[in-house]
């Protein structure tokens, strides 16, 4: 059978037509995402006066030092705890039967998609002075006075670990599923105990996943606004909340955009580091 005449559009070539499908999204992204981001960089060196004056604050301003240190401390702590807990869940999931795995996956995905505000609100209801936990403990006579569980770094870390856990479990699990089960079986067959085969075989093989999940959680934690702002109660400021205060309350665009720029530069540096360890696109679920 003779080939049908090609439609006239194909004078641009086959790929030309497919690029037309890509264009709307590409223009939207460039015009309404990348361009405004570049302007943030631009504002950071132009306002209030052109130059690197805003960036000098990184070295001279005591309040910025404190915010940066608080942010790094909370994020590192969150990442460490999240990895430990996430590893345990992913480890059990990777070895469980398909039914158990489905139920555990539901337990991971449901919180992941429930509004971050709802989750922060739930923690407020639980942790505040007259909250559920303090009331119960006082009621049982375990403690005399309510514990300070919230509006401090402890509250922020609890809320952040809760938020970040699914983001750690999913890449950890992907990594662990790629580990050849027969290596473990061989170790056990050669007489290694459960602990030995875990420490000697499974743990080293799962380390790339741990690094990937760790950097991912750390990056998400760095720019996190909602949970730290609610559970910190305005007393413990992390960088995202500090930026929003600079813009919405004291209207210092120079300082706000400088910190925002510093934040993305730092994040992309971390990502570059990460791309040497794991395949980034696999981490984000893209094929």
């Amino acid at each position: 059978m003779p080939a049908m005449p090609r439609p006239a559009r194909s004078i641009w070539g086959e790929t030309g037509i497919y690029w037309m499908l890509v264009m709307p999204a590409l223009f939207m992204l460039l015009g309404f995402y990348i361009f405004p981001l570049v302007r943030v960089l631009w504002i950071s060196v132009m306002e209030p006066t052109p130059g690197l004056g805003n960036y000098a604050l990184l070295f001279t301003s005591a309040s910025i030092h404190q915010v940066v240190l608080t942010t790094l401390r909370i994020c590192l702590l969150t990442t460490g705890i999240t990895l430990l807990l996430g590893y345990a869940v992913a480890y059990v999931m990777a070895q469980a039967g398909p039914r158990t795995q489905r139920w555990m996956m539901l337990g991971i995905l449901l919180p992941l998609w429930i509004s971050v505000l709802v989750r922060a609100f739930a923690w407020v209801a639980l942790l505040r002075r007259q909250g559920v936990i303090n009331n119960a403990l006082v009621g049982m006579g375990v403690i005399e006075d309510p514990l300070p569980l919230i509006w401090n770094e402890l509250g922020i870390v609890i809320g952040m670990v809760h938020y970040m856990l699914p983001f750690a479990v999913l890449p950890l699990l992907t990594g662990m599923r790629g580990i050849d089960r027969r290596c473990l079986a061989a170790a056990r067959g050669l007489g290694a105990s459960r602990t030995q085969s875990f420490l000697g075989v499974f743990l080293p093989l799962s380390l790339p996943g741990v690094v990937g999940a760790g950097i991912l959680v750390f990056i998400f934690s760095l720019g996190f606004l909602v949970t730290p702002a609610i559970l910190g109660g305005g007393r413990t400021l992390m960088i995202a909340e500090y930026i929003s205060v600079q813009i919405l309350d004291v209207v210092q665009w120079g300082v706000g955009t400088m910190l925002a720029t510093t934040l993305i530069v730092f994040i992309f540096a971390l990502l570059a580091l990460l791309s040497r360890v794991v395949d980034l696109r696999r981490l984000f679920g893209a094929v």
Binding site: A3, P7, T15, Y18, M20, L21, V22, P24, A25, L26, M28, L29, F32, Y33, P36, V38, R39, V40, Y91, Q95, A96, G97, L109, L110, P111, W113, S115, L117, V118, R119, F121, A122, W123, A125, R128, Q130, G131, V132, N135, L165, P166, L184, R194, S197, G223, L225, V226, I243, S244, I247, L248, A260, L263, I264, I267, L280, F284, G285, A286, V287
Partner: protein, 262 residues
Amino acid sequence: MDETSNVSRPVRGLAWAIICFLLLPIAIVFPVALTDKRYLSLPEEHLSLQHFANLFSSAEWLSSIGQSFVIACAATALTVTVGTFCAIGCWRIGSKLADFVRVLMLVPIIVPTIVYALGIYRLWVDLRLLDSYAGLIIAHAVTGIPYVVIIVSTALAHFDARLEQAARNLGANLWQRLWLVILPGILPAVVSSAIFAFIHSWDELVLALFLASRTVFTLPRRIWDGINEHLDPTMAAVAVLLIFVTAGLLVFDLWLRSRRAA
């Protein structure tokens, strides 16, 4: 199966305990929403639906729910359309450049929303889109693209490209191939991506904090004010409502996936 022999009982217990840590705090909003008190607490004498009544008789809450719904629907329609076409285009081109475009589409997941919020705020000041539906819809649509591109690209990776070639050889033009061959084949993934794009916009707070003020006051924006100003049990009732919406959409998604697998 000897699958379980690799994991000892205490470790399994620990994993389930951690999953409880994920779920139980969220569950606490259910009893709090049913409290008989006027302040945030567990019910003491009896269960009461007064806070749900408050919620559904408050013009402010209802208007915010309506606004969020409209914005989320519009943003979803926009982002699913451009995101799906983009994923299909990149899939068919398959060059290094197309791969780069697909990675570029993931940038909104990586850049903290607070940073983007500053940029889009300034752009909307110039374009007079601040505090408008259009402004928030576009911002939510752009930040929703990564979810659509990821989900649809994954489905396309499993889609048999020869079907499309066969249609082309039989003389189908691009639109016929798109509507009659490719889209029906990946429809469940497109619906799935719409669900996630909807949840993304419906729950989005940071952009709403910067871009909305008077005319537009979305549900997350009102919840944020509620948490910071007056913590009353109506908030718990709102939380319950949000949990039901999200859980309902997720169950719908799971059902779709199970049908796809069958």
